[in-house]
Symmetry: C2
Subunit: 259 residues, 2 copies
Amino acid sequence: MAEKELPGSYGRPGPGEIAVVGLGPGGEEEMTPRARQALERAEVIVGYRTYIDLIASLAAGREVVVTGMTGEVARCREAVERAAAGARVAVVSSGDPGVYGMAGLLLEILAAHPRGKEIKVEVVPGVTAATAAAAALGAPLMHDFAVISLSDRLTPWEVIADRLEHAAAADFVLVLYNPRSHGRPDHLRRARDIILRYRHPTTPVGVVRNAGREGEEAWIRDLNTFLDLPVDMVSTVIIGNSQTRVLDGRLVTPRGYRL
Amino acid sequence: MAEKELPGSYGRPGPGEIAVVGLGPGGEEEMTPRARQALERAEVIVGYRTYIDLIASLAAGREVVVTGMTGEVARCREAVERAAAGARVAVVSSGDPGVYGMAGLLLEILAAHPRGKEIKVEVVPGVTAATAAAAALGAPLMHDFAVISLSDRLTPWEVIADRLEHAAAADFVLVLYNPRSHGRPDHLRRARDIILRYRHPTTPVGVVRNAGREGEEAWIRDLNTFLDLPVDMVSTVIIGNSQTRVLDGRLVTPRGYRL
């Protein structure tokens, strides 16, 4: 039959493609047009339930593959298999997918796949929690900063502690991701105690919950007092350097301009 | 006359507002809806010429105040004065305005202004060069990273060198902003030499020019060889940690998942 000769009438001739898409802090207001286009183009959207819910209107009418929070490996394998079978797949992360997100794992799994080289992959950046939280607080990241996750699920605590120590010693502003969870309620205090060896107890500290999304809350305290705040897994903690100050209720690290 | 009694008929009754807006890497494709709305709402747009050109269609029909690259202080003062006189002002930065951008300086100038407390300010985050460059290279920022500017215009070189040293010692991935300019052609080599005390010469290095905008170019080399690349002021340099590898031509720092 003539129809069989048409391209695509046997199913896809070759592998599909994967976009690893950063949604930004959460709301559709924070998602770039490029991210939106990548989702609109996708036939299959793969992600953690909470992220899929953030883009419900875009997910509607598409096949959605949902896994639990710790199902990252399964999620990426599924995305690669679907793309290898010809689908256009979007893997979604909140924030930027390249900052503690899904991009690295996906590229690792892709490189190990027999058809990995044939699948086109694009990483679509997004506004990451560090800068979304900074914007809510003022401008604490105007000078050199270090981004550290306090989760020891994949990294030994000794490595984390060493990084905290060096970052504090070199007067970096510190941005802490995954600052506290039920499994490790004490990490934030241990991190604070390391930093206190190098910084004054009145060094300003900003905490933002749900940065850039509905229910955003921001506080400014100092190293002495911030542990009393309701810091959790949807919080980002920013610890000032020696120059950071509070100006009219905003956290500002001067870049050094003479005024 | 009755009309005179209408609100606003004498000009604005009080101060206006300022949005410090991150344009993202450059193209309108990378600007969030929230950033676009802030620009649409503005009566006056203040910025460096190159950034204004990136948003020509949005700037059209609005008053535009342009200053040179080193006119940051004048730019922020002008923005604050205009807002104090009642205008809705947008100050634009490429990338994220809170990362070596205009947000901090603006808040400093605002805090020193007699009407500063009355002016409403919003910082609108954008996709910063670190993650736009990372996306172009693969996924090098999947683990803890340090962001360092090599510009010594406002920071003594000794401080920069000390931060490079500590970040290298603690095995952070390094992101270098302002990596090279005519005024300091040698900083990048000096930075590389510091890092080489802690990292193997074959450590992968990624360089991206014009990340996320027209004319984007990306290269992957190593600490031994990357200085030959055409690194300039519109480039971002990402230096891998001890775990970073090149997979199918992409730069990936594994997070530590067992595959």
